[in-house]
């Protein structure tokens, strides 16, 4: 069969032969050279359009929008942890910063959406840049726990800075305008005579931003700063020796990843219409870390996959644990037969999913995907 396929290929050099450095780092070569990549792009665009319009209902869109929000944050965290090797549990702090920026400037002050989204990114960038120097001093596990401390400090800040964050009672984003030009995402945009719901519009907004963020990140990674970051991850002492400025790239990585996190936080606040300090704690930090590890460290695609798997998987578990086969395990109240309540059961399944997945495929979904791909590519020599 490979012979037949070969016969159908246009004459010329092997498809993947590159003749210049510029071509090597190109994201999207011509369709003849990288057909499957183009298929992927077209399929994504199609899904982007079709899913909300025809296939998925509002509650499902809400879940997918949340996955998208997590994807943005996960891309940021992957830039920091996967590409630069700085393991950080502090992502939840930057997400919170973005959310409160949107709440305060959008909800309280009525800035327009592009304005407060950009401001959130900027604030994330600056705060990340301030935290970055810690990574210059601390390494490995010590950095992990210090960033964890950052999350708790953040929660303390959100709970006590009443005038801006509303304190422990939280703050509502109901008043925040959500329109870009003529498109009002809150009421639902109107395109070509059709009115769409809030969930549909928001889905498009979020996943549009995911695409933008992924493109930016991919571009960063294949360029000079990206190579510097990966050098730092692999062997930072050597990197320093050959002239990579650790200070610049470590701090830069923190800054950029925090900018992504802040945008994710702002969108999160807009989706929930309400934020409170308790949401930006250890659990959120762990969720992000789980997403990039299960998705695949050091890949952008993996971040998105991880977000879909972890958040989407959790939602799937919650929706399906009511099925009859689980009945003997579930109890709905005191004094009834069964072992777990639904909430406990979901949490156990979630933990089990993480553990089992990492046992089988410790390098994540992206690695799994690469394995499938290479199986097909090297067929019939796939062993």
């Amino acid at each position: 069969m490979a012979a037949i396929a070969h016969a159908f290929r246009a004459g010329g050099p092997n498809r993947d032969l590159v003749l210049s450095y510029a071509e090597d780092v190109k994201l999207l070569r011509s369709p003849r050279r990288s057909p499957w990549r183009w298929v992927f792009v077209v399929a994504c665009a199609a899904l982007f359009w079709l899913l909300p319009t025809y296939f998925v209902g509002d509650p499902g869109l809400r879940i997918l929008a949340m996955c998208g929000i997590f994807a943005i944050g996960a891309i940021g965290l992957n830039l920091l942890t996967g590409f630069t090797g700085q393991v950080s549990l502090g992502h939840a702090f930057f997400v919170g910063a973005g959310a409160y920026t949107a709440a305060y400037f959008g909800g309280q002050r009525g800035w327009s959406m592009p304005a407060y989204l950009l401001l959130a990114a900027l604030i994330g960038f600056v705060v990340g840049g301030v935290i970055g120097p810690f990574a210059l001093r601390l390494r490995g596990n010590y950095l992990v726990i210090v960033t964890l401390g950052l999350v708790f400090l953040g929660q303390h800040l959100w709970s006590n800075w009443d005038s801006v964050t509303g304190g422990g009672a939280g703050i509502s984003l109901g008043a925040a305008p959500m329109s870009i030009g003529p498109l009002d995402f809150k009421e639902g945009i109107e395109l070509g005579g059709e009115a769409y719901s809030f969930e549909q519009s928001f889905f498009w907004l979020v996943w549009g931003l995911v695409a933008l963020g992924a493109l930016l990140a991919k571009n960063l990674v294949r360029s000079r700063p990206g190579r510097a970051m990966q050098a730092i991850r692999d062997r930072d002492l050597s990197a320093e020796v050959i002239g990579v400025s650790l200070a610049r790239y470590k701090v830069g990585a923190f800054a950029w990843s925090s900018a992504y996190a802040a945008v994710a936080g702002a969108l999160y606040g807009l989706l929930q219409q309400y934020v409170s300090p308790v949401e930006f704690g250890l659990f959120l930090a762990i969720t992000y870390l789980a997403m990039i590890i299960i998705g695949g460290l050091g890949t952008i695609f993996g971040s998105v996959l991880g977000a879909l798997f972890v958040w989407g998987g959790r939602s799937v578990i919650e929706q399906n644990s009511g099925q009859a086969i689980f009945d003997p395990l579930i109890t709905t109240g005191s004094g009834e037969a069964g072992i777990f309540t639904i909430g406990e059961f979901n949490a156990v399944l979630f933990g089990l999913a993480i553990v089992l997945f990492l046992l089988f495929e410790p390098r994540g979904l992206a690695a799994f995907w690469l394995r499938i791909k290479s199986w097909f590519l090297t067929w019939p020599f796939s062993y």
């Binding site: 601390l138 964890l148 708790f152 006590n160 410790p362």
Partner: protein, 309 residues
Amino acid sequence: MSPVPLLAAITADDLLQTGFSGVALGCKYALIALGFSIIFKATGVINFAQGAFVLIGAYFTYSFTQTWELNFYLSVVLAMAAGAVLGVAIEALVLRRLVNEAPVTVIMVTIGILFILDNVVTAIWGPDNRNLGDPWGVSTRELLGVTVADRDMWTMASTGLVLAAFYVFFRFSTLGLAMRAAAVDPEAAMAQGIPARRVYRVSWAIAGMVAALAGTTLAAGSGQLSPATGALALVAFPAMILGGLDSPLGAVVGGIIIGLVQQYTALLAPEYFDWVGESFERVSPYLVMIIILLIRPFGLYGTQEVRRV
């Protein structure tokens, strides 16, 4: 209308009492941190599931004491044995297969185990508050002008005992030496005939035992035993870090420092620093940890990492 602000009536007695309670609290953290540090010392893994071990240990003590109605001290010993079994089980079933993976992956797996264990505990024993049934209750005695709870005395004594046991174990016993060797270089250790597998297993077993003891001290007294008890293990992180990840002595010293910092913050902050907001004692351990790490990046007693190009 606001109430009268706190009178500046903080006496020397108060300070002494607070200091003592800080040490007692710190010993609880120290016991938890000891469990972390022994696993890290032997295998290089930060075990996020330690909090669950602590919780399970406490519930085992509860079951043995209240449900099986055994003598309390016997229950504690049995709970420690059960904790050891649990540690070994986790190691054999899960961690064994992840020996060469990226540390971040292993951390994530331990977090997954934490979720599972936390909820299994709640499922088996229920979410209600329970009384541990310890003989110490709320009884106290006077010592140097300070009121000391019996429970706290036992906590401090246990911590000291465990630390001494660790020291003797690591310094003088064959297995302890083997553990130190395996932590430095597993392959070389195996070449010397040291069974690395057994070493890992033993370290997890010891961590489980220490966790059971820690859980018992946490839940003893009038504070009820409930699933929320496990959340205290989070505070042990700064203790472990600022003492140095791989040093048991560091874990204990770190724990005591954190306990003291928390108690003194709770006493003094509302009076003198109320601009920092309420309940600042929840975050002060992390601040102290950050400050100490900036000065000594590997903790107070941690081994300095030697990096080669």
